[in-house]
Symmetry: C2
Subunit: 99 residues, 2 copies
Amino acid sequence: MKSFIDRLNKAFENRIRLGIMSALMVNASVDFLALKELLDVTDGNLASHITALEKLEYIAVKKEFVGKKTKTTYMATKLGRIEFNHHLKALEDMIRQSE
Amino acid sequence: MKSFIDRLNKAFENRIRLGIMSALMVNASVDFLALKELLDVTDGNLASHITALEKLEYIAVKKEFVGKKTKTTYMATKLGRIEFNHHLKALEDMIRQSE
DNA sequence: TAAAAGCACTTTGAATTACAAAGTATATTA
DNA sequence: TAATATACTTTGTAATTCAAAGTGCTTTTA
């Protein structure tokens, strides 16, 4: 039998990654600057957490041109949504010690 | 205005400390061995997380004699319960992006 | 039009955190 | 009495997190 904490996803343990995912769960897409302001982090720090979530394929990046400038937006992938919901369920179960 | 992630309590970011607190929220008291088995961690690791929560006065230790042997049990303090509930509320707010 | 500033990063290095393993003291069981 | 168990502490390392600085491009400002 798996313990409660093993069902928690390590990718979402960090508050910033949790914040990124939360933002991308309620908003179809969010850009870099908005995330940076929402989470109040340095851009280097944000970029590295974004990269971590990207590598896991929990979030996807879209780069498009607005005139000559690139605009980068992020969104949760299907997998990311599934895993995040699992994580939340595991959290809930642990807190309520159900099962 | 405080961002969502600032309202999360760093003490509860780690999964093991989160697990300890969860266990102590639903059980009046839990002993070392039970926590160790519940969380499936080495005793050194568990002890250090317990110490961290103790220093913050989120949990309290009770040592009593059962015959000649000491029995150690842990329980959440009033402060610990308050802070944990705040943390859960902050988590919820962040996930639902309310406020 | 040259300089400054903004955006979205990457790289670097350092501080913090988390962890296993080993050691300790006491008590119990074989 | 030797082995095992409990509840730790100590030590050292590995992993994680983070700020700061640097980069390349674009836009704004003087």
